[in-house]
């Protein structure tokens, strides 16, 4: 059998080497190599996505080789229903963001080399089944991200990049301690996630401490309120494609960590912390919504809306029910398509206007109707309009949470009204009203930009109408996880 999952990691790495060996100035060839590599990655991820047997569930496409036998570290890869959607969205967004990166003009070679390393790291994180390996990939992601923001970013890029790097690194340090503690507490010592799962008989206190350590690592990444303040800075400064990756993939690494590591390995602690997660989720939803309302920077508004929307994921994760977990995983996927699309659209506007100040636009709906239509549909998806994918996942999260945390769920519903408020207010300031004469020459969205948006649009509409297609894929896995956790409710 072909080592498909390894190819997801090593194709971008090989492409990175190829890019670095390309003579200086050959930007066209660099772009070609990078895009070809991302296309291969996307095709492989799509193959895995469509060939994964959702009914059978469990780990598939497994690869396992001993790596550092002295401490029992294995190069152990595999995917289940939880990782498959993440791999698919990562593959897709990697390709689209790669195409969106053609606008980058400075140091193209270095940019794409780092970008490909980033892609390899992200995919590695989602396929690793060994904690040591997982940690390696987790940290690999940080480095290119740091440079991509710090070199190709906006005016305050140094501050944003270093804040992102240090903050996340601080979190992952705790995570490392947690991983090491798990290793030494297990008998025989192992980093194997599947072996650590479930009946390892860790005491509740031990579980709680480790859960907290891992929580810090994951919570900063998600980000869960109040660990979110690196996000607006990083988003505002990052170049458009990097924002897309950041929102679409990096944030999901945090929630993925809960599903892959914290919950299966520390089930009792997970249940014990459920209520606190729900509280933080509700705060994030409402708080993010209110703060998004107050933004004048387009990108910052979308960034804070991410805080709000990721809150729904956490809310779904806090309830240990089928609909909660399904909703959370679906929301992770949908947030990738929807917010990724919104960041692309912000980028389209920024490339033309060189400003993101919402108050400086106005009336663009008359000037650039196709762009206006796109922005409207993505915003509607973001505000949870039924018929589009965001609705289904938010609905499932709320439906799952409602019987368990009634008041917290009702409070979270306020986030839906807030979502409508800040998104429609944004649409009004950008698209409606009289046309600002400054933009009377603004160009319509071009073919390349549409190419990056249309796949996302198709997914948003398709999953809004036929959500069962993707639920069939991961449902058995999430339901098995819920069953193993015991659950709090039906």
């Amino acid at each position: 059998m072909l080592p498909l999952l390894s190819s997801l990691i090593f194709v971008p790495v090989a492409a990175m080497v190829a890019v670095m060996l390309t003579p200086k100035g050959e930007t066209q060839r660099v772009r070609l190599i990078a895009t070809a590599a991302c296309a291969v990655v996307f095709l492989v991820s799509a193959w895995v996505f469509f060939r994964y047997d959702g009914v059978a569930g469990g780990m598939q496409f497994v690869e396992s080789i001993s790596w550092i036998p002295q401490i029992n570290v294995r190069y152990y890869l595999g995917v289940d229903g939880i990782s498959v959607p993440m791999i698919f969205i990562t593959g897709l967004l990697s390709l689209l963001a790669c195409v969106a990166s053609f606008g980058i003009q400075e140091r193209v070679k270095e940019y794409f080399a780092l970008y490909l390393l980033l892609v390899a790291g992200m995919l590695g994180t989602f396929v690793a089944l060994d904690l040591f390996l997982f940690y390696v990939f987790w940290e690999i992601v940080l480095v290119p991200m740091y440079f991509l923001i710090g070199v190709w970013g906006g005016p305050r890029k140094e501050y944003a990049a270093i804040k992102f790097f240090i903050y996340t690194l601080a979190g992952s340090l705790f995570m490392l301690l947690g991983i090491l503690a798990l290793y030494f507490a297990s008998d025989p010592h192992t980093f194997n996630i599947l072996e650590l799962t479930g009946g390892k008989g860790f005491g509740l206190l031990f579980q709680k401490v480790i859960f907290l350590a891992l929580f810090l690592g994951f919570a900063i990444k998600v980000p869960i309120w109040p660990f979110h303040t690196w996000l607006p800075d990083a988003h505002v400064e990052a170049p458009t494609p990097i924002s897309v990756i950041l929102a679409g993939v990096l944030l999901k690494m945090g929630t993925y960590g809960f599903l892959r590591i914290s919950y299966p390995i520390l089930p009792e602690a997970a249940r014990w912390f459920g209520i606190y997660l729900a509280v933080l989720a509700a705060i994030g939803i409402v708080y993010g919504g209110f703060v998004a309302l107050a933004q004048t920077d387009f990108k910052k508004m979308v960034a804070y809306s991410s805080v709000s929307h990721m809150g729904f994921v956490i809310l779904g994760l806090a309830v240990f029910s089928y609909s909660g977990f399904d909703g959370a995983l679906l929301q992770m996927f949908n947030h990738g398509t929807i917010t990724g699309g919104l960041f692309l659209l912000v980028g389209v506007l920024y490339d033309r206007a060189h400003t993101r100040d919402l108050n400086s636009f106005g009336g663009l709906g008359a000037r650039i109707p196709v762009y206006a239509g796109m922005l409207t549909v993505f915003s509607l998806a973001s505000l949870g309009l039924p018929g589009l994918s965001g609705f289904v996942s938010e609905f499932l999260c709320l439906l799952g949470a409602f019987p368990v945390y009634r008041w917290i769920t009702i409070l979270s519903c306020a986030g839906i009204i807030l979502g409508a408020s800040y998104l429609l207010y944004m649409i009004q300031r950008v698209l409606l009203g009289p046309l600002n004469p400054k933009w009377k020459e603004m160009e319509e969205i071009n073919g390349r930009e549409l190419f990056t948006l249309i796949p996302l649009l198709v997914l948003i509409i398709f999953l809004g109408i036929f959500p069962q297609t993707i639920l069939n894929l991961f449902g058995p896995t999430t339901h098995a996880l819920v069953d193993s956790l015991g659950g709090l409710a039906r």
């Binding site: 303040t229 998004a292 309302l293 008359a366 289904v392 439906l399 009204i417 429609l424 409606l432 009203g433």
Partner: protein, 638 residues
């Protein structure tokens, strides 16, 4: 019979065709839209005939499975749905045709018809849904279409504001509906309309009575948003910023009636919980009175009609709340026709005069004959003049109120009926009678507009007959699924109803035609009341001050909190780490390094001393050697 699915798909196809081919189609896109709507109407007619013959269609497929829970969507066509299909497709098609004339010169002509078709699809989807969640999905979609069409002329700041206000205000209600549906789901385990039989609800009511009551109230909150009931009615008057055909179709005849439809659809549940019914009746009655009172002083022709719509929707709600299921649904149907006609007539007036202020009009009767006559039919119908349609349905509602045993509802609704007749004929007198007050160059609208007016006028006049005693209350029997309903006409109620209608008309004509100075005088005498009416009970100002401003302020406050406190902690942590490393550096430099350096310095110092004796002179060394030796001997001896 599953091809009833096709009913909403025709307009959807029209929407897609216009969306992608609108540029090429140009003005032909209107005919695509009309074709979609007309096809839906034809198919609906066929379905309705089947339903009248006693058939009920139900079909479903699975949308979402979560373990044991299934959400199955599908199709339900029963008499209530059939009635809605009739209203939506017939009124809709007339308005589509009318729009061709009205929107003729608009630069976004084909976009308009695309949106209208999308609305038609959503509204039909709403009416044939067989599941609350499915209904909710289309419920939100019609809200979206409403938003798009209210802010259709988005270059106008006021239109953009109005669209946003409509969407967000109704969404407040929708959240209530959403939570209500979750409560309902967890209390009963289903959201399928057909599951809520009387026996089922009764047994569940024993287990979770108050939860279901609460659920009903929350569902009603959703209906309040959509059907512009107090206190969520504030968006509808602003929605008049949209093109007039939109006001007629969405904000008078169909979408705003969706709230009433929802309550009618939920009637098997509501009727088991008297507290919830009381809430519906009270809110409906308040809305009916309040809006009619505001309509008395409005001067914008569309605003008068908007408040009138709110008031009439309140009427329907009150009927349902008082147990008058057939009365409420009957009025929904008649109102759809005459109110659509009123709006289209107003549109014709606006089209002909380019003004919306009735104070600037007057004497239009001679210049716009078709418009004036059809408008008159509709005005008489809404005022409840027999034998026009509004009379029969309104009479039913008053009868229901009378028989509810709580006279307050009856008299409140009776006063509303009087006010309705009054403001309608105030409007009519100021617009069509008398002499022109300004130099408006009025002209009659083209046939593409006046023909729909005439058709709707015929419907407005006659559509009440099926519910009248002359046809033995056929409609009421039909809507109840064939069970004949006992209706005993109470002469007192009929007299009151006719009296209120005619009295209102007379008084209005008297005040505005015979003694035109008197209204100003009355306004001056009852100044506080006049101000309450003309300022619409200050509801907008209240919301602005009590909700919107605080919400914005909270947003800004939390943003500052985020930057200074939450992020401040992060930055402080960084700064403190840097400071800490400064301290460590000091320790390193002064103490750790100091110790090392001190070792060196002491060695140097000591070596300096020692160097003194290292003179390089051999005699000194010999001297030291001898002295040392002596010292050793002395030590030995001692």
């Amino acid at each position: 019979m599953t091809f009833a699915y096709l009913i909403p798909l025709f307009p959807l196809a029209a929407f897609l065709v216009i969306l992608f081919g609108g540029k090429r189609l140009g003005h032909k896109s209107a005919w695509v839209a009309v074709a979609g709507s007309a096809s839906a109407a034809i198919l609906s007619t066929w379905v309705i005939v089947q339903v009248i013959r006693g058939a009920t269609f139900h079909h479903e497929f699975t949308w979402l499975v979560l373990g044991q829970t299934r959400f199955t969507f599908g199709l339900l066509v029963d008499p209530l749905t059939a009635m809605m299909l009739f209203v939506v497709t017939y009124v809709g098609t007339m308005i589509f045709i009318y729009s061709i004339g009205y929107m003729h010169e608009d630069p976004r002509f084909s976009r308009f018809f695309a949106y209208l078709s999308l609305f038609m699809f959503s509204m039909l989807g709403l009416t044939i849904a067989n599941h609350y969640l499915q209904l909710y999905i289309f419920w939100e979609l019609v809200g979206l279409c409403s938003y798009l069409l209210i802010s259709f002329w988005f270059e106008k700041e006021s239109a953009a504001n109005a669209g946003r206000k409509a969407f967000i205000t109704t969404r407040v209600g929708d959240i209530g509906l959403f939570i209500g549906l979750m409560l309902l789901f967890y209390a009963t385990g289903t959201l399928q309309f057909r599951d809520f039989t009387h026996e089922f609800v009764a047994s569940k009511g024993h287990e979770a009575g108050w939860i279901l009551t609460l659920s009903c109230v929350l569902i009603f909150a959703g209906a309040c948003g959509k059907s512009a009931q107090f206190p969520l009615h504030v968006w509808l008057p602003d929605a008049m910023e949209g093109p007039t055909p939109v006001s007629a179709l969405i904000h008078a005849a169909t979408m705003v009636a969706a709230g009433v439809y929802l309550i009618a659809r939920s009637f098997p549940i509501f009727s088991h919980f008297p507290d919830a019914m009381t809430v519906v009746a009270v809110i409906g009655t308040i809305t009916a009175c309040m809006a009619a009172f505001i309509a008395l002083t409005a001067n914008d022709i569309k605003k008068v009609l908007a408040y009138s719509t709110i008031s009439q929707l309140g009427y329907m709600m009150a009927a349902l709340g008082l147990g008058g299921f057939s009365a409420g649904t009957f009025h929904l149907m008649t109102h759809a026709f005459f109110k659509a006609l009123l709006f289209l007539g107003a549109g014709s007036v606006i089209h002909g005069t380019h003004s919306q202020d009735i104070r600037e009009m007057g004497g239009l009767f001679g210049k716009m004959k078709v418009t004036a006559v059809t408008f008159l039919v509709a005005s008489l119908a809404i005022s409840g003049v027999p034998p026009l349609s509004g009379f029969f349905s309104k009479d039913e509602i008053l009868l229901a109120a009378y028989e509810s045993g709580q006279p307050v509802f009856f008299y409140a609704l009776l006063v509303t009926a009087f006010l309705t007749a009054f403001y309608m004929f105030r409007l009519y007198a100021l617009t069509f009678f008398g002499k022109p007050r300004t130099h408006l160059h009025a002209h009659e609208s083209p046939a593409v507009m006046t023909v729909p007016l005439s058709v709707l006028a015929v419907f407005s006049a006659l559509i009440g007959i099926p519910g009248s005693p002359w046809m033995h209350h056929w409609f009421q029997t039909f809507i109840h699924g064939g069970h004949a309903e006992e209706i005993h006409a109470v002469p007192f109620v009929v007299q009151c109803s006719i009296g209120a209608g005619l009295g209102g008309i007379m008084l209005a004509l008297l005040l505005y035609l015979v003694f035109p100075k008197v209204p100003g005088f009355i306004a001056a005498v009852f100044k506080p009341l006049y101000l309450v009416s003309s300022n619409k009970f200050w509801m907008d100002e209240l919301y602005q001050a009590a909700i919107l401003k605080p919400a914005w302020a909270l947003g800004r406050l939390l943003f500052r909190f985020d930057q200074t406190v939450v992020d401040g902690v992060v930055n402080q942590a960084a700064v403190q780490t840097v400071n800490l490393s400064g301290v460590k550096r000091w320790i390193d430099e002064k103490i750790v390094d100091g110790a090392v350096n001190a070792t060196g310095a002491v060695t140097q110092w000591a070596s300096g001393i020692l160097r003194k004796i290292q003179t390089g002179l051999i005699q000194n060394y010999l001297l030291l050697l001898v002295l040392g030796f002596l010292l050793a001997i002395i030590v030995q001896i001692l």
